[in-house]
Symmetry: C2
Subunit: 278 residues, 2 copies
């Protein structure tokens, strides 16, 4: 390739996947066009978002962008993949780590097979309903910084049609809402509760995993079980995460994997195909 090539990696946490760009000297200009080109799943590398790996003073800074090029404050699965990348590159050891994000500093614990991130405490909101293909599901609002509506359902999750967005009460959720549908799952050693969920993320559609959604679901499940703390295994379509709530915060634990690393030429990603003029 040419001298314009950039080092990159691709990784995922429960199939929430990211393109990582190393920018240790802080010189990389990551435009929205570049993000869209690299996150394009056919003409680029492909990912739900892009993580620029940079420094901010004494901390590592996760510069997170959505696949559409917009800037996002935080991404729970993104922080876990970001931390795994730092370890893979030999930049940090296993153990505790603090990552700077646009939403503030986040505590992380890197282990051999998992990464844990401190997601902050949940805030419970009012009861509300989601309407999916004409069927109404009762649920409860939970904020993890972003808004969630957690709806326990009494039918198999596989039967739900999440190809269209659930209808919600815009009076309760003026900025839109991520909607989780939840069922109990079989007993599992080492946790207090075990549930399975599917999620429709606002502005995106159904996704394979949602870190804040898993935390909201776990908090709601514990509350419905009459508890204010405990550990919940949450199965998402892309795998399994574990959420632990205590008096002060919510910890999200799960796998985070770097699948590949290499170099890419940004001029070739996405921009290489002449646009048809129809």
């Amino acid at each position: 390739m040419t001298t314009t090539e950039l080092p990159f990696a691709k990784g995922h946490g429960t199939e929430n996947d990211f393109v990582l760009l190393s920018d240790l000297d802080g010189t990389l200009d990551v435009s929205a066009d570049l993000v869209r080109a690299l996150c394009d799943r056919r003409a680029g590398i492909g990912g739900d978002g892009l993580l620029r790996v940079a420094r901010a003073g004494e901390h590592w800074f996760m510069d997170y962008r959505n696949a559409d090029g917009s800037i996002a404050e935080m991404c729970g699965n993104g922080v876990r993949v970001f931390a795994r990348y730092l370890f893979e590159e030999g930049l940090v050891p296993l153990g505790p780590l603090t990552v700077a994000t646009r939403a503030g500093l986040r505590g992380v614990v890197l282990a051999e097979d998992s990464v844990t991130v401190d997601m902050g405490p949940p805030a419970f909101g009012p009861e509300s309903v989601a309407v999916l293909v004409g069927v109404e599901y009762a649920g409860a609002a939970v904020s993890m910084g972003n808004p969630h509506l957690v709806c326990p359902v009494d039918r198999p999750l596989a039967e739900l049609d999440l190809t269209r967005a659930p209808v919600f009460d815009a009076g309760v959720f003026p900025d839109g809402v991520n909607v989780e549908f939840v069922v109990p799952a079989g007993p599992l050693p080492g946790v207090d509760l075990h549930v399975a969920m599917r999620v429709h993320e606002r502005g995106v559609g159904e996704t394979r995993s949602c870190g804040t959604g898993a935390c909201a679901v776990a908090a709601d499940a514990l509350r419905r079980a009459g508890r204010d703390r405990g550990t919940v295994a949450v199965d998402v379509p892309g795998g399994r995460v574990t959420v632990t709530l205590d008096e002060v915060t919510c910890l999200l634990t799960g796998p985070a994997v770097i699948v590949a690393r290499g170099v890419l030429d940004p001029a070739r990603a996405g921009a290489a195909v002449p646009a048809p003029d129809r």
Copy 2:
């Protein structure tokens, strides 16, 4: 990473995208599981298929696998990306090249901005019809080694719903068929005809590009224009290819790009996520 890491590249031709694995010494055991893991768009690298780059006697051999792990004989866009990879790696110069595939030897011409592959001659079959969401479209069977049904339509392509497979006459197409919908496109210098198409590939669904489909569409368009040779620009959703028919064969020309290259750990692709037990 570990000592098990494999060199790989990712590339595409009009957004028909591939994971390439270098196997110059012919020692790589590419299982169907590995193909599925690497072609997984979230837990792996992501691609429509995998190209193992190997030697077969005096020729380069394209070992092509579909994303589901099955073996395929040929892929027109795959050969073009394969040839571009050989050039990028410094293994062949620009100019003519012969690539071995399971369907036999293919002539290729590598140029700076495009790759041309000899796809062999079309064979015209009977008229037939495709039924899409209750609407019948008349078309003609064209074989490029694999079966196509080319249907000129008189409505904007964007209005077609290709989320479901077109219904076809199983008497004419006992092994299924790839169905192309075609409209005329604006005048373009340097070509005899210019059309735009969308394609539903059998067993796959709508795709961004189909090399044999573009050839079938070009052959059909020339025949309908009363010609048996000529050059046709074919716009596919992923870009533009050019097809030239002469007395003996059909040449497919278009962009082919290597976007990234690096190393991956096959043990981490796809297999890293514990399966939820719901």
